[in-house]
């Protein structure tokens, strides 16, 4: 463990020893136990407390964490935080009224989290004060962790200088409790909220929807910045126009299989900033991403990626589909609709890999025909001639395997990893010499 990792534990021991021993002393001891004698952290801490005549049982058993490290279902966690806001209110639980407290916590790193106190006799958190909260737990709320203080909780008020919250942390008056975040398209992830976003509206459509309060206009479209494109939904008429640059506040992200969708409504505001922004034409280009980037963001609309074809999946080549449900049929039999008049189709399913990450790519007929130069009609003729429908798949394999390829399309992610629905595909011949020269120049600099 390095100095930084040890620090919170040194503080913890100092707290139990109530200032009897200097922190430097404790740090030296703990470093010795951990890094020289290789004892476990828990045992080391108990030894040190006992050595100086403290009570080892006063050490917290929960794990001390920063707010950014909080998982969605922590069982027992310790936090050193400032209470940014706190409201007490009555709720009815199982027919009996109960007093609970809720609000916002912040830590020194400037992260925030919502909290709820379920037993006010155990913990009464006052806004503006610092506390060491022990034995708290977390639950998921809208994709984010929320801290709960139950009946096991122990709190201890701490001096003002122990937690200094950066000025950037703002407590919103209403609505969302988390601090606003300014984000680019490439940073958008499912379940984020209270986002401030600036982009150019590339496409816009309005739709009428039925709501309990009557008909309502909603707007969908595509908005983009230099890092990519994202689909959006506006639940309120902000008078949006195509091609204008807008800044939206209090937006949130819903996703489908990792493709984020930006949403904003009445709680958000739309302003039109005067600033230099990439043009419509520049933004309409698909943004180039590495497969690794996509792995990190989980999905994206309209991106270009490059890699090498390392596998050709079953179901590549000439296939037959059920006219009812479009499923691929075997020997004219659909697993749902039985014997059917099968419809021929062309498809390619490949794995593209760039040495850091891999993605499955699926191409429908038009893309397959353009990439291979083989039309569905030619494929059918050839299969008939050779009496072998597999021959097309083999031909595609020979053409594609081990070749560098460039793909454009939408990327989704699920349990099986990333996959792309390809809209454009082309084999590329990289300029090896130029790139080798560039790489060499880089080594020469070092």
């Amino acid at each position: 463990m390095n100095k930084e990792e040890i620090a919170p534990h040194v503080k913890e021991i100092a707290r139990v020893l109530e200032g009897k021993v200097k922190e430097q002393e404790i740090e030296k001891d703990l470093d010795n136990y951990l890094n020289v004698y290789r004892m476990s952290l828990e045992a080391s801490k108990r030894h040190i407390v006992r050595k100086y005549g403290g009570d080892p049982n006063a050490l917290t058993k929960g794990e001390r964490k920063m707010l950014s490290q909080l998982g969605l279902s922590e069982q027992s966690v310790d936090l050193l935080v400032r209470v940014m806001s706190s409201n007490t209110r009555e709720v009815v639980v199982g027919g009996t009224p109960k007093t609970i407290q809720s609000g916002l916590l912040a830590d020194e790193a400037g992260n925030t989290v919502k909290f709820t106190v379920w037993d006010v006799s155990k913990a009464d958190l006052k806004a503006g004060e610092n506390y060491l909260i022990r034995y708290a737990y977390t639950k998921e709320w809208s994709g984010q962790p929320e801290v709960h203080l139950g009946n096991r909780v122990v709190i201890e008020q701490r001096p003002q200088d122990e937690v200094k919250v950066p000025d950037t942390v703002i407590v919103p008056q209403t609505g969302s409790y988390s601090a606003p975040v300014t984000a680019k398209v490439s940073e958008l992830k499912e379940n984020m909220n209270n986002i401030t976003f600036t982009g150019r509206v590339l496409a816009l459509r309005s739709k009428e929807v039925e709501t309990p309060s009557g008909k309502k206009a909603m707007f969908t479209g595509i908005i983009a910045d230099e890092t990519g494109k994202v689909e959006f939904t506006a639940w309120h008429d902000f008078g949006l126009k195509e091609n204008e640059v807008i800044t939206v506040t209090n937006a949130y992200v819903k996703g489908w299989k990792g493709i984020p969708r930006l949403s904003f409504g009445e709680r958000g505001q739309v302003t039109r900033p005067k600033l230099k922004f990439p043009t419509n034409e520049e933004l309409s280009q698909a943004v180039r991403k590495s497969i690794e980037d996509l792995e990190r963001s989980g999905g994206a609309s309209d991106v270009v990626l490059a890699g090498t074809v390392v596998d050709i999946k079953k179901g590549t080549g000439l296939i037959f589909r059920c006219p009812e449900c479009n499923r691929v049929v075997q020997k004219g039999v659909c697993q749902v609709h039985g014997k059917v008049q099968q419809v021929p189709d062309l498809r390619i399913k490949i794995v593209v890999d760039d040495g850091s990450a891999a993605i499955t790519a699926v191409m429908k007929r038009e893309v397959t025909e353009r990439l291979t130069g083989v039309t569905l009609k030619e494929a059918l003729d050839e299969a008939r001639e050779t009496m072998d429908p597999e021959v097309i798949g083999h031909r595609f394999e020979e053409k594609l395997l081990a070749k560098p390829i460039e793909l454009r399309g939408n990327v989704i992610s699920d349990d099986y990893g990333l996959s792309m629905n390809v809209s454009e595909a082309k084999l590329v011949i990289p300029d090896v010499k130029t790139e080798a020269e560039a790489l060499l120049a880089k080594i020469e600099v070092i």
Partner: protein, 296 residues
Amino acid sequence: MAMVREVAWRVFASEYNSSTMEIKGEGEKAPSYVVTPLGAMVNRMFIVGLLTDLQNLGTEQEPYWRALLSDGMSKYYLFAGKYNPEATVVLSKIEPPAYVAVVGKSRTYSPEEGKIFVSVRPEKIVVVDESVRDNWVLETARSTLKRIDCVEEAMQMESPTMEDLAKLGYHQALADGVVRALPHYKEVDLNRYRGMVLEALEQLLPERSGDLPIPTDAPSAGPEEIDDEQEDEDKEELVLKLIDKLDKNKKGAPLAELIKEAAKAGIGEPELEEINNSLLDKGLIYEPTIGKMKRI
């Protein structure tokens, strides 16, 4: 958690063959990895090289192929048998020498405790052209450099963790591998691998060879005899001609005869060996079997 596909690492043969660390997957279907000195955690790999030697160690009915695949510097060992039907069929049709691309799985063989020989079990093999090979050399050089950087960063940390390295922008799989490799391989000679990358890039830029930078404090490759370059090339030309002449049955020129003929032309055995090595490096000749030399 569903099985996510293992990435196909790009690793030069010299780095791969230096591996002495293996992580055995425990339990059913858990993947195993060969961890290279530069922290590549190889379960699957993608290789393009020159197939120089192909031998059936099995029978006609049940072939078991051993193939040697050269990346221009070192060789990979490939083994394919009845469990790799697709690759076996392709191998039986290839006539070496040929550029091939291989997607395969890492394999190890441990004859005694602490000793590991690594090889590759091909899943897919396909004959390719030179442009595919050149692109692979470039990619592999690039990813080797990234690993060298990552190991170098990790060496400067007191106790590097995966998170520390991931924070610097390295892919999680690489960060994981480097953190595992470091305590096992301890002091890795990074300059050896830098030299290997330079040599690889040199293959792509033949006109630049000779004025490539030698990394500082790299082990010197011996005195350079720059003045004799022209003479060397003449001698290489001569040896190539001798090989052509002596290769009567198209199975390669027997080395013993080559030594005799070269001696007549005033080239001694040690010098001949140097010339042969140089020709092997340039990819102009290869050894179809031990003791034979053949033009490519």
